[in-house]
Amino acid sequence: MLDVSLDKRIEDAIVMLLKAASIYLPQDVKNALIKARDLEDNPLAKAQLDAIIKNCELAEAEGKPICQDTGLISFYVSVGDEFPVKGALADILRRATIRATREIPLRPNSVDVLSGKNPGDNTGRYVPHIDWELIPNNSELKVTAFPKGGGSEGPCLAKVILPTEGLKYAKKMVLDAVVEAGPKPCPPTVIGVGLGGTMDFAVKLAKKALLRPIGVRSDVEDIAKLEVELLELVNSLGIGPHGVGGRTTALDVHVDCAHRHPASYAVAVVFNCWAVRRSTMIMDSKGNVDFITHKFMNELWR
């Protein structure tokens, strides 16, 4: 009996989590955008950032999604082995996605690759995408909703370079990708870089790096240094907000590395548009919820 009601509580919390992500930018992103505007002396760039900031205020005031591209829905799930609901979670996340699409509302973005058909509810084969992690000796459920827009998927890339080319060519790949992307991924972006592992793993590291708040450096000192270096280089390109020129092309660069095979050096570069929409909640085994990125949601939660 308890588990049935817990299923429902999870579903309700996930709908709220998607609402939080779609409507309210996390505070670190808002702060970074305001800082970028205050730093900017190019009037065209300043106008773009003013419009962005005003848009975010309107979205919050009116309870509407920040961007019409409400993304392909992804969840990052860390579930404790002692949390009572596990096997049913994928179905619950799917149901919550369908409800959120209707209730917020979200744009139905999932399209069948071969037929081109859109089922209209943001679900489909492997969608919503779920990344799983099982946490030993733990009784909590932690879920991050990460609805990422399509425009910033376009310029993402991954390549296995020669180990003899090494880090300097990895840096070149990042900078070339930023220049090639230009205004397309809606800069100022957050850039995730994954190095090492296998190609698929490098992409995953890059993608997960986007989940780290803006301004928070890697806890590995050499990686943190590389992040600072890349951010400075990217912002010296002068692409600027929406490519009109200016100081801030990226709000941050986040890097992660995995040990690599001696014969290969995988490099992945992923972009997130300025609207970095992510929200995280933690639920205990009794169904109590803490929306840790959007604390005000706790007041609305019953």
Partner: protein, 197 residues
């Protein structure tokens, strides 16, 4: 500016100008561009005459209230995806303004020059701000393509700010920025990281 736009209206505009639009905009993305062109090439006609109107690269978030469609959020999508088809689209429909984000390429510049049209950008992602300039949904066609890809016919009032980034005189604002960015990359950044272009 007000739709229908005349050739004279758009020929007056230059790169960098900021305009606000009232009248009718029609959304069209990848699939709508493809379908429109295949209909027009086979001698058919579109469900709405686009002559003098503005085409908006946008797939909106919509809601249905009391059987009426309401625009919730409607910012621009990345225009480069439509670049391959825009020349013919402008030629065959007579649309005078393309609204999007992220810029377009040389073929679209040619079309704007040859047929008298402009490409303008609205701030990408500023979807609620964009919806503020939209009064109502007049009609929708091709819903079978899915909500993002359908042709939404929208009445707008003082919709903008729209910045002209391709005018009808062969100028492309993003070209000059892009040239400078590539120069910095090759001459300043590559030496710093120790690689050659």
């Amino acid at each position: 500016m007000k739709t229908p736009l005349s050739e004279g209206d758009v020929r007056k505009l230059n790169v960098g100008d900021v305009v606000y639009l009232s009248g009718i905009v029609v959304t069209a993305r990848d699939a709508a561009h493809s379908r429109a062109l295949s209909i027009l090439k086979s001698g058919g006609s579109l469900p709405i005459d686009l002559k003098g109107l503005a085409i908006y690269h946008c797939g909106p978030v919509v809601d249905k209230k009391d059987d009426k469609w309401v625009i919730v959020a409607a910012g621009p999508t990345t225009s480069t995806r439509m670049d391959l088809l825009e020349y013919e689209f402008i030629e065959k429909t007579g649309a005078r303004m393309i609204i999007g984000k992220g810029g377009m390429g040389s073929r679209t510049v040619e079309a704007c020059k040859n047929f008298g049209a402009v490409y303008t950008i609205f701030t990408g992602g500023a979807a609620v701000l964009a919806a503020k300039g939209m009064k109502r949904v007049l009609d929708v066609h091709w819903l079978d393509l899915g909500i993002p890809e359908a042709l939404w016919v929208i009445e707008v009032e003082n919709f903008g700010p729209l910045m002209v980034t391709i005018d009808s005189h062969g100028n492309n604002f993003y070209d000059s920025i892009s040239r400078e960015v590539y120069r910095r990359l090759r001459e300043e950044i590559y030496p710093k990281i120790g690689v050659q272009g």
